[in-house]
């Protein structure tokens, strides 16, 4: 419907000046993510106690002015351990999700544009990879080569490449059927141009949303691996490892087991909230 008429009222919503519309839920999600990102960067400067130091006399100590989140099963300060854990959880997940999505999306677009045997070969290979249960795969790799941060990052990204590939390929196949791709093809354009300039700009929105979901999955899988003792190794700990270490405090309702769980939940939920409420460009610019 064309808007050919003079506008009657200009009751504008807040946050529309810059040409984007961003709602409050998305903003909350974004601020929690930024909070954790800042914590990850500046953790060594703000932790009240060294991570490995046994500071409290009691184990599974309650929340107190000295120990804001109580103490863990050895009497170490829980707040310090969570602040430091953010580095591992956020850092490893971010690295893994970047690798997974970049390779998956590039391969997916190539498969969609090239079609034919390359598409079949890539799809079947990644389907095969997809058929291996992810936790089991992680367990086997870590058990075989031992746990280190690079191994964790690579394992997590390999596990999530097939999903990113499938998603990007499905989107790109739809775009590939459009007339503007046909026009570009009979102009004589190369595959690289097609995927970079014609397809990518049209799928970048959903791909970013997918990146967010995949980030959440990776955080959860990393926490799961750490919970099983195969993730980040002591004395350092990511949030999953913190939950596992302190699982014995569950019967006492210790803050030590609740706090890292809440940290995982807050990060994953706010990523989800953000990707569901990404800023939207306003198309109505007739003013």
């Amino acid at each position: 419907m064309t808007m050919t008429h003079s506008e009657t009222k200009s009751a504008r919503l807040s946050g529309t000046r810059i040409g984007y519309r961003f709602n409050i839920v998305g903003m909350v999600g974004l601020s929690i993510i930024l909070f954790w990102a800042l914590v990850a960067i500046f953790a060594p400067l703000i932790i009240p106690y060294p991570v490995g130091e046994i500071a409290d006399l009691d184990y599974f100590g309650p929340m107190s002015p000295d120990f804001w989140l109580g103490s863990d099963y050895l009497g170490r300060d829980m707040l310090s351990r969570i602040l430091m854990g953010a580095r591992y959880t956020v850092g490893i997940s971010l690295a893994a999700v970047t690798i997974a999505c970049f390779s998956g999306v590039v391969l997916g677009m190539i498969a969609a544009v090239a079609g034919g045997w390359l598409d079949t070969l890539l799809s079947r290979f990644l389907d095969a990879l997809n058929s291996i249960p992810s936790k089991l795969f992680g367990l086997v790799v870590v058990a075989a080569v031992g746990s280190s941060i690079p191994v964790l990052i690579l394992t997590l990204s390999v596990i999530y490449i097939p999903g990113a590939y499938r998603f990007a390929r499905a989107l790109a196949v739809n775009i590939n059927a459009m007339d503007f791709i046909t026009v570009a093809r009979i102009r004589g354009e190369s595959t690289l141009y097609l995927i970079r300039s014609e397809i990518l700009p049209n799928i970048v929105g959903p791909v970013l949303a997918d990146l967010g979901i995949r980030f959440v999955f990776i955080v959860l899988l990393l926490s799961g691996l750490s919970f099983l003792g195969l993730g980040v190794q002591p004395p350092f700990a990511d949030w999953g490892a913190l939950v596992r270490e302190n699982i014995g405090g569950l019967p006492f309702g210790a803050a030590a087991v609740m706090a890292p769980s809440f940290a995982i939940a807050s990060l994953t939920i706010s990523v989800n909230l953000l990707i569901d409420n990404l800023p939207r460009k306003i198309r109505d610019r007739s003013e």
Partner: protein, 551 residues
């Protein structure tokens, strides 16, 4: 007793995504008497469908009926509760949508869907509803009325499905039926039968109707009165005869004149000795795996030969599914031909675009029907036009910039449009950008695949005028593919009629009124004329119709 429908000072407003409100209907008033068919006509965006929907008390998401009154059979649709409105919809006021194919559920039989209305409203027993539906099928002259109901929607043709959706609307015995462009998606030969069926059923039942369309000639056949809309306001109201013969409002006259494009002045044959540009010999193209004889399983184009001369235009005409678009794709190399020779400018071209040189690709450009899908929605107009300039001509930023301005001038678009994206342009503007991209390559031949079909009559006429002007200035040749005879007639020197993948007739301008082949005769006689008596007076040989129409 007043009129069946009384609309007074209707206002509808929409909220845009920036929260701004715009009035899309500004104070429209009109009446519809019992048994009268009123047409709402206007270009897209004129608010005709919005008005029609308010008759059911409905506004599309984001829109709101903000003022005025709509009374149908004494009930004010504004003041009814949603529940009461639901009771009126389907029984008193019903709706026939534009695309019947999208309105039917592909997973249920037609009969179940047609009688669904009676079940929802508890109007009659299922058996009674079924026998009533069969009566309606017969009245709408559908084939095999007893058994057609047990089929699924994909098992009947588009024209039949459109009539079935009318049966769905009529089964609740309504006082008022809203037809929303019901024949726009149909071929002319099919459209006639559908229009006839609608007209006879409506007249017999004395049912009032609202017919929404942008095609004045179609409306002339069915409506008693015409309301011309533009920009959400009534421009002119009158009986069909008045509007057609004695239009007062300038916009109505524009609509009328757009319907009859000025014929192209015959090219000066003495001056331009015919130099062949494109020669197609015995081309076969199709889909599916190759058979043992090297031909594809489904042959959409069979053994077609054509000639296009420099500076001349060739029209290809035929109904949907006749292979005209496949032919264009085969010529452009998108779908490599299985057999046949394509000689362009003295050199034989490879069958697939990959086998052609960059210059060969540059000299032959194709413009697609839907500018919506032919322009990358993520790129600005500037970027879209810049790419062929860089790719084919290797221009630097400054030369490119100047050339983009020239191209925009050529297609009569304001230069400040270059930063917009396709989604921010109107249909006609998009088609111009689409065309400018083809011009950017400096081609010798442009294949136009139904480029005006998605546009309103007035806009389409403007695009055709533009094409003619550009031809005079740049010495282009066009292959113009369309199902609309009047468009092809307006621009082409020679017309090829296709049917079932074969070329059935070659017609030159001089002979355009007297085609020889029976299918050409049928096709040409099926084009609606601006004469309200045309449909009733039209006599087509039933043998011919049976032979060529898959109704």
């Amino acid at each position: 007793m007043g009129n069946l429908v009384e609309i007074r000072d209707l206002k509808v407003e929409a909220t845009t995504d920036s929260g701004r409100r715009v009035e899309i209907i500004n104070g429209v008033s009109f009446d519809i008497a019992e048994g009268e068919i009123v047409a709402l006509i206007g270009e897209s965006g004129s608010g005709k469908t919005t008005i029609a929907l308010t008759l059911m008390g409905y506004a599309r998401p984001g829109c709101r009926i903000s003022g005025g009154s709509v009374s149908v059979a004494g009930k004010d649709m504004m003041t009814l509760s949603e529940k009461q409105r639901a009771r009126v919809r389907g029984t008193e006021v019903t709706y026939v949508p534009q695309s019947a194919a999208a309105a039917f559920n592909p997973a249920a039989t037609i009969m179940d869907q047609v009688i669904e209305v009676t079940r929802i409203h508890g109007l009659m027993a299922a058996d009674e509803a079924r026998s009533r539906a069969v009566d309606l099928f017969r009245a709408l002259s559908l084939p095999e009325p007893e058994t057609i109901g047990s089929r699924y929607p994909h098992q009947v043709s588009g024209g039949q499905l459109q009539r079935l959706s009318a049966a769905m609307a009529l089964i609740g015995d309504p006082n008022l039926v809203i037809f929303d462009e019901p024949t726009t998606a149909l071929d002319v030969t099919t459209q006639i039968e559908v229009l006839r069926a609608f007209k006879s059923v409506m007249k017999k039942g004395g049912i009032a109707g609202v017919y929404v369309s942008h095609d004045l000639a179609v409306v002339a056949q069915i409506a008693d009165r015409i309301i011309v809309l533009k920009g959400g306001e009534v421009q002119e109201v009158g009986t069909t005869e008045e509007i057609l013969s004695n239009a007062k409002h300038p916009y109505t006259r524009e609509l009328l004149s757009a319907f009859e494009p000025k014929p192209r002045e015959a090219a000066d044959t003495a001056e331009t000795a015919p130099a062949p540009l494109l020669k197609i010999e015995n081309l076969v193209a199709g889909y599916g795996p190759s058979q043992t004889d090297g031909l594809p399983l489904v042959r959409a184009v069979e053994d077609v030969s054509l000639n296009v001369e420099k500076g001349r235009n060739l029209g290809i005409i035929g109904e949907s599914g006749c292979g005209k678009s496949t032919l264009a794709r085969a010529i452009a190399g998108i779908l490599p031909a299985a057999v046949g020779k394509i000689v362009f400018d003295g050199r034989e071209l490879g069958r697939s675009a990959r086998e052609r040189t960059r210059d060969q690709l540059r000299e032959m450009q194709i413009v697609f029907q839907y500018a919506d899908t032919a322009l990358n929605p993520a790129k600005s107009v500037e970027d879209i036009l810049a790419r062929p300039l860089t790719f084919y001509h290797g221009m630097n930023a400054k030369a490119r910039n100047a050339r983009i301005d020239e191209l925009l001038d050529m297609v009569r678009l304001p230069r400040n449009l270059r930063h917009r994206r396709p989604g921010e342009l109107s249909g006609g503007q998009k088609q111009r950008v689409n065309f400018a991209r083809a011009l950017a390559a400096d081609p010798k031949l442009i294949l136009c695949d139904e480029i005006t079909s998605a546009l309103d009559t007035v806009v389409a006429a403007a695009v055709i005028e533009l094409l003619k002007e550009l031809q005079r200035e740049l010495g282009l040749s066009y292959i113009f593919i369309s199902h609309d005879l009047s468009v092809v007639e307006a621009i082409c020197d020679e017309i090829v009629v296709m049917y079932g993948g074969k070329k059935v007739e070659d017609i030159t301008r001089a002979k355009v009124k007297t085609p020889h082949h029976p299918y050409s005769k049928l096709l040409f006689s099926s084009v609606p004329k601006l004469d309200p008596t045309w449909l009733d007076g039209l006599e087509q040989d039933p043998e011919l119709v049976r032979a060529y129409c898959r109704r």
